[in-house]
């Protein structure tokens, strides 16, 4: 018997609480005491007051009242009712298998997206049936206006933009080998134009309009690659909207596709994302994120559109929408969207410090989503957790919050966090919003003061780790080069010998626009961690040997392999045990392993499949009796929302 049946059987067979003696008597007494009159309906009493036949005069009077009073009233009531937002849950579906670009069909009956091995997958919402209709696809997918085809970028063997039938899987080529690849955002209602974005260089993203008949490409806007432009057609297909960012200002653009008109809305005091047209073209709604204290506020806004002009200013229509993601706004006014729920957090696993083996099972210590960083206090009594501008100190044994420090100006930007062995400072990679500076920051534990130690360029996976003397921090740059920095003078120096360092820089300069080539040729070292005795730094060697952990002495003269995983497994993040005899590491998303540093075989110590989606950043407690790690676990719910546009304006719809 399988497990579900066993559970069902046990639930069905669960005993029932017996009704106490005397209850029936009490309930029967209620019946006796209650005056049970035969009730006549109010209508019947009105039409036949004597209890006999209906009075014709009364029927005629009721008809007159209905025509003169009730009908206009009900019309007003309908309008009034329409002012209330309706929110309802979509059928239960799981999009866990969909990695990229989930899109809801125009009729709201199917989802399409890119699944695990890059197949274009269609999910039927009523039956939960899934079928793969195309291979080697990537990016977002878009449905044709009639739902008969799905457009997607296919990367091989002949790269092309394809139109795929969700029913039969039959494909036709919309555009051969677009260079660089175009990732789709929208498909015009007549099927002749597409909107997408592409990255001609690693730093730039372009919103591009492509005429599928003439193959003419029009670049609508360019931007640094850290922001999406969200290009979309209006429902009639005569206009496009998109967003750009200039300095701190987000600008919503409205442009005719023939280029004859272009207007901008520039006054929104926050970040604009996911602009979407209402089905009648009367509004563009978007999520607007505004800075606040102690957190940001993300609401749904609507900006009226008439012809090719914006009318007035945006109005907030739904407050605090959080992690909303839009899918589709159907012709009948239903906006389908997803809300995410973060259930993961920091887990603790008790360990035997002698053997490096667990003595219990993982237990959730702190619930925290959004990729929090964490580290142990040197006395092993507290754990600091940094997420969403809040640094929280919790008890390492119970997870109970001890203290919270608000860091409104600081965004964590990168990963890794380390508490100095003297207990005074915490180092983490971050970004100061006001100054737009990224780098390694130091927080003074006692006061919560933050200062920038080393300014560094993004992308910022800086992975800082303290030396045992609390004077030096080791980190790595985006190029995978390891540096030491002294906290007194803030001056970094490379761990590698000068010749190695120069070679690393030369390979980068030669290949910085050819990412794949650089990856092949570069020696990328990530996640450096000081050995407990401070004599060496261990790190993961990336590239072809990403399952290898090496250690180099701090003078850079001697390097040795600590272990190498077999079967193409890779090491994601790791930590030394305090006695230096073991290294704990995360691998294969859901596994935590331990490797003895004497060359013995690594062994698995936990599988978090039942707890979440992936585990990262294991940290060994200072006493060696436990490890902590972060488990990501998100769940989604799918909803539709109606009647949320402003009432006065909805009247014009």
């Amino acid at each position: 018997m399988n497990m579900q049946k066993k559970i069902e059987q046990s639930l069905r067979a669960a005993p029932k609480p017996p009704a106490p003696a005397g209850l029936l008597d009490k309930l029967q007494a209620d019946i006796s005491a209650w005056d049970m009159k035969t009730q006549r309906s109010a209508l019947r009493m009105w039409f036949a007051p004597t209890g006999g036949r209906f009075s014709l005069w009364r029927v005629a009077a009721a008809a007159a009242v209905a025509i003169v009073v009730l009908l206009p009233l009900s019309y007003g009531a309908t309008k009034l009712i329409k002012r209330f937002i309706t929110i309802s849950q979509l059928p239960a579906i799981s999009l866990r298998s969909i990695n990229q670009g989930a899109a809801l069909s125009p009729d709201g009956k199917q989802f399409a997206g890119i699944a695990g091995r890059n197949q274009l997958t269609v999910i039927d919402l009523s039956s939960d049936e899934r079928r793969n209709v195309a291979e080697k696809c990537t990016g977002d997918v878009v449905w044709s206006a009639d739902g008969s085809e799905i457009a997607v970028y296919s990367y091989g063997p002949r790269p092309a933009l394809l139109a795929v039938s969700p029913k039969t899987g039959k494909t036709r080529t919309l555009m051969e080998n677009p260079q660089p690849p175009i990732y789709l955002y929208d498909w015009s209602p007549d099927g002749k134009l597409i909107l997408g974005d592409r990255t001609p260089t690693a730093e730039i993203v372009e919103a591009v309009l492509v005429n599928l008949e003439t193959k003419k490409e029009t670049v609508l806007a360019k931007h640094t690659a850290d922001y999406s432009l969200f290009p979309h057609f209006s429902p009639k297909g005569d206009l496009v909207s998109y967003v750009t960012k200039e300095g701190d200002r987000y600008i919503l653009h409205l442009q005719k596709i023939d280029g004859t008109s272009h207007v901008k809305y520039m006054d929104f005091p926050g970040e604009i994302r996911q602009p979407l047209w209402s089905p009648d073209s009367s509004h563009i709604v978007f999520t607007g994120t505004q800075k606040g204290f102690p957190r940001e506020y993300k609401d749904l806004w609507a900006l009226r559109v008439q012809g090719n002009q914006f009318i007035g200013a945006p109005l907030p229509v739904v407050p605090d929408v959080g992690q909303i993601k839009f899918y589709n706004w159907s012709q009948n006014g239903q906006l389908a969207y997803r809300m995410g729920f973060e259930l993961g957090g920091i887990f603790v696993l008790l360990m035997d410090s002698q053997t490096g083996k667990p003595t219990g099972v993982p237990r959730q210590l702190v619930r925290a989503g959004g990729f929090p960083m964490h580290c142990w206090s040197p006395d092993g009594k507290q754990i600091a957790v940094l997420r969403q501008k809040q640094l929280t100190f919790v008890s390492a044994s119970t997870g109970e919050q001890i203290r919270q420090v608000s860091l409104p100006e600081v965004t964590q930007d990168g990963r890794g966090m380390s508490w100095s062995p003297d207990g005074k400072l915490i180092a983490f990679p971050g970004l100061v919003d006001r100054e737009n500076k990224t780098g390694i920051f130091l927080i003074t534990v006692e006061s919560g003061d933050v200062k920038l130690l080393v300014p560094l360029e993004a992308p910022a996976y800086f992975d800082p780790s303290w030396a045992p003397d609390s004077k030096t921090i080791v980190y790595r740059t985006g190029l995978g080069v390891i540096y030491f920095v002294n906290i007194e003078d803030g001056k970094p120096r490379s761990m590698n010998s000068p010749s190695e360092h120069n070679e690393d820089m030369r390979v980068w300069e030669q290949n910085k626009n050819k990412y794949e080539e650089w990856l092949k040729r570069a020696r990328i070292r990530i996640w450096p961690v000081f050995a407990p005795d401070g004599s060496s730094v261990a790190y993961i060697l990336c590239g072809q040997k990403s399952g290898t952990v090496m250690a180099t002495t701090i003078d850079g003269k001697e390097t040795r392999e600590i272990f190498q995983l077999k079967n193409n497994k890779s090491v994601h993040t790791f930590d030394w045990s305090p006695d230096g005899r073991h290294i704990v590491f995360s691998s294969a998303d859901k596994e935590i392993w331990c490797a003895p540093t004497d060359g013995s075989e690594p062994f698995q110590i936990a599988d978090i499949s039942a707890l979440g989606d992936y585990a990262l950043m294991p940290k060994w407690s200072p006493k060696g009796d436990a490890i902590t790690f972060y488990v990501a676990h998100e769940e989604s719910r799918f909803w539709v929302m109606e009647n949320f546009l402003p009432a006065a304006e909805a009247g014009g719809r």
């Binding site: 497990m3 639930l11 069905r12 669960a14 009704a19 106490p20 209850l23 019946i31 059928p91 599988d607």
Partner: protein
């Protein structure tokens, strides 16, 4: 429920509408134990469950005129019981402290246990506690569908949600129950579980 029973319930309802107290007593005898056990499990105390059962049936008698027969009488009755419980829950600021009350302890007691063996009793105990810690939406689905034996569609009507929502919640329930009781497909092997504090939803 057989066709005969269903016809009989309809007839009883018609008679109650015509102020037939005997019919009301008969209807009461058919359902009061089920309603009591449903409410007892939910509210966790004998005294409160008795009160709620009483309130439920008072509402039934006073609103039976509004029962049009479009759904089963039992569905309508459970809906009233469910709403009565929700009203009580809202008013009772102390909330439900513990639902592991005496009757359950009596059931799981070795001497008077309805369970055949130790493993079965342990599983039932685990499930009872795990269901007790589910969030409210999921818990109601388990109570109505499994403990009270209502069909999916009846459960949906009682909770005023779509049948697909009930199915979805049941699927979620199984996911959670699997994790919480740490059972593997191939046997009863204690696996890694998330220790959940009482009352905390996963």
């Amino acid at each position: 429920m057989g066709k005969f029973m269903s016809t009989r319930i309809k007839t009883l309802c018609k008679r109650v509408k015509k102020a037939d107290k005997d019919a009301a007593c008969e209807l009461l005898k058919i359902y009061y134990e089920d309603i009591y056990s449903y409410l007892r499990r939910l509210c966790g105390s004998r005294h409160d469950a008795e009160d709620l059962t009483q309130q439920t049936f008072l509402k039934v008698w006073s609103s039976l005129d509004g029962f049009t027969g479009r759904s089963k009488f039992s569905t309508w009755l459970y809906r009233i019981a469910h709403n009565t419980f929700l009203d009580w829950l809202r008013k009772d600021t102390a909330g439900v402290q513990s639902r592991l009350d005496q009757w359950w302890q009596d059931c799981t007691d070795q001497n008077s246990s309805p369970f055949e063996n130790l493993a079965e009793r342990q599983l039932a105990q685990c499930l009872y506690e795990a269901v007790d810690r589910l969030d409210e939406d999921k818990k109601h689905v388990v109570h109505l569908h499994y403990y009270q034996g209502l069909s999916i569609s009846q459960t949906a009507k009682v909770l005023d949600v779509a049948t697909s929502t009930v199915k979805y919640r049941l699927r979620e329930v199984f996911k959670i129950l699997r994790v919480k009781i740490g059972i593997e497909e191939n046997g009863f092997i204690q696996k890694q579980t998330i220790p959940i504090e009482k009352g905390e939803a996963i």
